[in-house]
Symmetry: C3
Subunit: 350 residues, 3 copies
Amino acid sequence: MSKTNAGNFFEDFSVGRMLHHATPLTLTTGDASLYRALYGTRYAVQSADSFAQRIGYPQAPLDDLLVFHAVFGKTVPDISLNAVANLGYAEGVFHAAVYPGDTLTSVSEVIGVKENSNGKTGTVYVRTTGSNQRGETMLSYVRWVMVRKRDAANAAPEPQVPDLASAVDASALGKAVPALDIAKWDASLSGSDFFWDDYEVGEKIDHVDGMTVEESDHMLATRLYQNTAKVHFNQHTEGQGRFGRRLIYGGHVISLARALAFNGCGNAFHLAAINGGRHVAPLFAGDTVYAWSEVLDQAEIAGRTDVGATRMRLVATKDLPCADFPYKSDDGYADGVILDFDAWFVLPRR
Amino acid sequence: MSKTNAGNFFEDFSVGRMLHHATPLTLTTGDASLYRALYGTRYAVQSADSFAQRIGYPQAPLDDLLVFHAVFGKTVPDISLNAVANLGYAEGVFHAAVYPGDTLTSVSEVIGVKENSNGKTGTVYVRTTGSNQRGETMLSYVRWVMVRKRDAANAAPEPQVPDLASAVDASALGKAVPALDIAKWDASLSGSDFFWDDYEVGEKIDHVDGMTVEESDHMLATRLYQNTAKVHFNQHTEGQGRFGRRLIYGGHVISLARALAFNGCGNAFHLAAINGGRHVAPLFAGDTVYAWSEVLDQAEIAGRTDVGATRMRLVATKDLPCADFPYKSDDGYADGVILDFDAWFVLPRR
Amino acid sequence: MSKTNAGNFFEDFSVGRMLHHATPLTLTTGDASLYRALYGTRYAVQSADSFAQRIGYPQAPLDDLLVFHAVFGKTVPDISLNAVANLGYAEGVFHAAVYPGDTLTSVSEVIGVKENSNGKTGTVYVRTTGSNQRGETMLSYVRWVMVRKRDAANAAPEPQVPDLASAVDASALGKAVPALDIAKWDASLSGSDFFWDDYEVGEKIDHVDGMTVEESDHMLATRLYQNTAKVHFNQHTEGQGRFGRRLIYGGHVISLARALAFNGCGNAFHLAAINGGRHVAPLFAGDTVYAWSEVLDQAEIAGRTDVGATRMRLVATKDLPCADFPYKSDDGYADGVILDFDAWFVLPRR
């Protein structure tokens, strides 16, 4: 019996199966510093204890995407070691703020399987839950991924495709945000004069700046999250592979786009929910990432007047500035688009 | 009204204007570790709680230049987003020690403006103050920077050039250093047998070692400081720009030179004041930085016998070893010189 | 008298000489995060406070190799600044767990010298001890290194070669591990179903995964450890040197191999002793590291039924997958082998 992990194949995923993932991880201020060094993020709530405490947090929480990446990273050895492609995300909700010193563990439940017509691969749907050291749910999300079969001769399972919400219900958002004293929100310090009330559905914002990615950057990030997907790390094999290059972890692109979005959405301090997300095209070292956003919806949060929710489509591109808001072309996504991310953000209200 | 920050242009700076910069930043042991990983700094006071506590600190303070970069980084979106060149520094004073957990904010006052004769640019002088979460001043310094005009047709303002001290008065230094029990200064652990008393005016010291810089290194550093200057990060645009390359943040060079200076000045544990500084030539990834120092002055600090102040010129070069102390040539700086930095350092006295 | 450190030459090492190394270093959670980002390590005990506390630790200890590198780094300016080659390690013992906030200092005693027949170099043997802020020994090990003579004309010293154990006595191991409640060891969370009892002498394990190293990665690591060996950092001189490249710190290879070994040895949570180690061939940026292990011995630890010791040979290669367990050829090590590391690991018992 081999002591090494060969990962699960499509046949190993049956609906209802629970996967308890290794390795639990205590996130610290060390991770917060590295996260800042990797992306240059500047949202005030996560950046400064004093800013966070003044408005009602016990201390600065960790960046929501750092939490996402840590929870996601653990699932890779069990879910996507034999994946061909990471297809999408849905129903992602950040249930509670995570602080330095909290330890995260991940569990995934298989909620759908569907073999592809070629008989060689299939799509697996999992709902992953990240919990803290007290067993409280911090994050949950669904992702689906195309996974190789161990043996094409094996019979296909009964297809089961989960019915997923096209967007998270805004009324349930904001649980990760304590009641805030918005009068104490200092817009000079937060870097933006624009509050929830100032965004309009249909509005598009070019985030202007670009960030070039180096091999060392994305590997440092992906190891920080204990994500073990081989394609990110091994030039010796990837050099002979599909792209001839190491592929950059898709979550790295989300974090880059989110950091770039500060320029235009500086008060969108909390990523509350992930409605959907697709990695449209791969990113490689040497490419420069740009981003733009479109306001898709504005929603009040039940029982709260301190903060509101703004649904945004966050689009990232490579080597393509976003003044013209590149998105789709006649036959799919426009050239240069690499990420289509649909999320609810929480902003302070006037 | 655009939600993105286009930065200020020369016309936006009027003498007396105060700029309250985003984003406050809590510095932690995570930042200290990254700072060490980026430069390899080895000064004992900042490296070890036990060393610092033995001589009289409550714990190891953060590196002075980490504080400088964090305070400086905040000013970039407001001061130098449209800058052509960072021209100089003066009257920099480190007023108090900054410890892990302290939060820094920055405010700048415009103290001078002078349009250039071409009508397209002008020099802006600002005095920047970095404060902690209790509103105490940690650092103040003047810098001047050449900024583009929004429109060359706009009238020039009345020129006002501040009268800046050529050096900070040494008698006022050392406030960031508690009263030290120098008898407990262990020179084996600090890595140098040379105390304040052992340096002589006119003495030159080659710091011998060289450090090659990678793209990933300087971008990690500059993002850590939340410095958003585009020229450091975007190869897609910089590849078509003036140098065809990303430009390395000048502060990165200062920190490299300061870390290299450990070899020869290992007991110069505290950067107390910046008298002046010029980035003489740009540094690019792949270049190797060397450094040397010249002792310019020796001064007692009023009321103190534990420590003294040594004024040094710290010169950094690229791809040029410093055994011959390269500095100026007939027509300016010698080839290869990239930094001319004039500062007061604090050392223990015998 | 020069203020810079030219390092010691072979003539400077006499048996019995004690070297008290600079700079003491406080290791923090910031260092732990960086260590994870650099290697992607996933051992549960070091990764999560909650996992460590559940089985009996006060909190997650720091990675043993982070401690090793920090202790080792301090010795470089005094021991190996003029080294030609780092020849080997022996009698390494991790005496106690190191936690975030602990400060390490290093002292070395010269325990052997032997001039080479060419008269230009000699081998120096030192026993290095790393202590914490309370003076408790955390780590001790012997290494030997080939050092240049200052002047070939100088007389050779009487050769003295220490008698070194071929392996550390297993009965003395495990002092860095508190009494554990192994019933609370959650194998799902630790990522391996294999306990001490499940390994057999002679068993070989291919760790499968490969990790490509970038210049920035190894320099960040080596600076983090305050290791100042010039060959790792200066492309300007190394470009004209023996390899035309910067050489990667050998300890970086050990850490990479140890992290890769998680896949197959996920419960080998503690490196207890280093029996021997050789850097067989150099590693350069761009190379991909693979690893495999062979179980050399199994030993009970006196008085303990919670954990046992497994002696493993950990072999690292470059650009060479390890399915065939590459090791030695007729005339030495096989092509591609870069590390031969012999160590005791501690694992939980059933």
